[in-house]
């Protein structure tokens, strides 16, 4: 007879193998490290002049500042939402995190692929041709500092139980752990876009 305990252990091992379950602290460490790299990449943009920051390949595509402002608009939505959900949660921290079906899918779909997978931008998150200056970069870095603060605070709550409403619909709510990964993957996606703009500017 195999005891339930052994079954449970086996089940956990299989889950870990398929990577949808992990140690919460490992997830937080990985998200903090990704945020550090994001900050470093954007810090270097501060040395760019306004020609480099506002150059665009064609009139309908974004320049570097527009990419960052797009991210800022998402930050304006998600960061206060995450902050209030963490503050009002009475959950206790849980050592493991299991990615949700939808959340895991959303987070993964955000990551840029080898071949460019274009996505549609919601109108209210499109900064095309808005008047933007370098303060956009400061605001972005400020949001990353806030994000680090929230990642630190999230150690005290359950990443599985706290749920965050998405900007798509308040009906679609994702686990806090998935929301963090989704949010950061979205940033990584647009920082890759910024790298492409830099390359085009150099070669164009």
């Amino acid at each position: 007879m195999i005891s339930i305990k052994v079954y449970k252990k086996k089940f956990l091992e299989v889950c870990i193998k398929f990577k949808n379950i992990m140690q919460a602290e490992n997830l937080i460490q990985s998200l903090i490290e990704q945020t550090r790299q994001i900050i470093n990449q954007v810090e270097q943009l501060k040395t760019f002049d306004s020609h480099q920051l506002t150059w665009k390949a064609n009139p309908t595509s974004w320049n570097i500042l527009e990419c960052l402002e797009h991210l800022n608009l998402y930050g304006d939505f998600y960061l206060p939402e995450i902050e209030s959900k963490i503050r009002n949660s009475n959950s206790k921290n849980e050592t493991t995190f299991k990615s949700g079906f939808l959340g895991g899918y959303f987070a993964k779909s955000m990551l840029p692929k080898e071949k460019l997978n274009k996505m549609k931008t919601f109108k209210d998150k499109n900064p095309l041709n808005a008047k933007l200056d370098k303060s956009v970069i400061e605001k972005f870095i400020g949001q990353q500092v806030k994000l680090l603060d929230l990642l630190n605070k999230s150690r005290n709550v359950n990443l599985n139980n706290v749920r965050i409403e998405t900007s798509i619909s308040s009906m679609i709510r994702l686990k806090l752990g998935d929301t963090f990964q989704f949010f950061i993957n979205h940033i990584i996606r647009h920082l890759k876009q910024i790298e492409r703009i830099q390359a085009e500017l150099k070669n164009g």
């Binding site: 903090i32 490290e33 550090r36 900050i39 470093n40 270097q44 680090l148």
Partner: protein, 168 residues
């Protein structure tokens, strides 16, 4: 200190303003600064408070993470382009298996404790002039390596006050 640096098999280069470490990360490495300079700080409601600096030939670490293996609240950021040698905790633990090395390591830790005590007195000293004089006497090299506006933050005074004190 040479013995410690020789344990390293990894070098990292930070561009100006690059972060080596941010709040909440676990970083149990010890770093040796080959060139450049860095600041260690905490953010208090978005306000930076510099705790210490690292420059040429200094050892630098998030000592709390190093000792406990737990997350640390410190940020470490390059002030200018910086080259660091990385010494991992594992490398140091292996090094400490030898008795004679433990004596050396204890010396380094003792000197760190003394530095921390001096810094504690700095912070508790009321007079800006006295704070300035204490640091100038202790680390004259600091004033060669680090921009004034950052030293002023470290000394908890305005850049104007520091420049007045330097002239007097």
């Amino acid at each position: 200190m040479k013995e410690i640096v020789e344990l390293s098999d990894k070098t990292i280069i930070l561009e100006r303003n690059d972060f080596l470490k941010v709040k909440g990360s676990i970083d149990s490495n010890v770093y040796y600064v080959e060139s450049g300079s860095l600041k260690v700080f905490v953010l208090d409601e978005y306000e930076e408070q510099i705790i210490r600096f690292g420059y040429k030939e200094n050892l630098l670490a998030s000592l709390d993470s190093f000792l406990t293996g737990r997350p640390s609240a410190f940020y470490i950021q390059a002030i200018k382009k910086t080259t660091l040698r990385v010494i991992t905790k594992q490398q140091i633990e292996k090094f400490l298996q030898k008795e004679s090395n433990r004596v050396l390591w204890t010396r380094i830790l003792e000197s760190l404790i003394l530095q921390q005590l001096e810094r504690e007195i700095d912070i508790l000293t009321n007079s800006p002039k006295e704070r300035y004089q204490r640091v100038l006497k202790r680390s004259p090299q600091l004033f060669q390596e680090i921009p004034n506006r950052l030293i002023a933050n470290y000394l908890r005074m305005s850049a104007e006050t520091l420049s007045r004190l330097k002239k007097s």
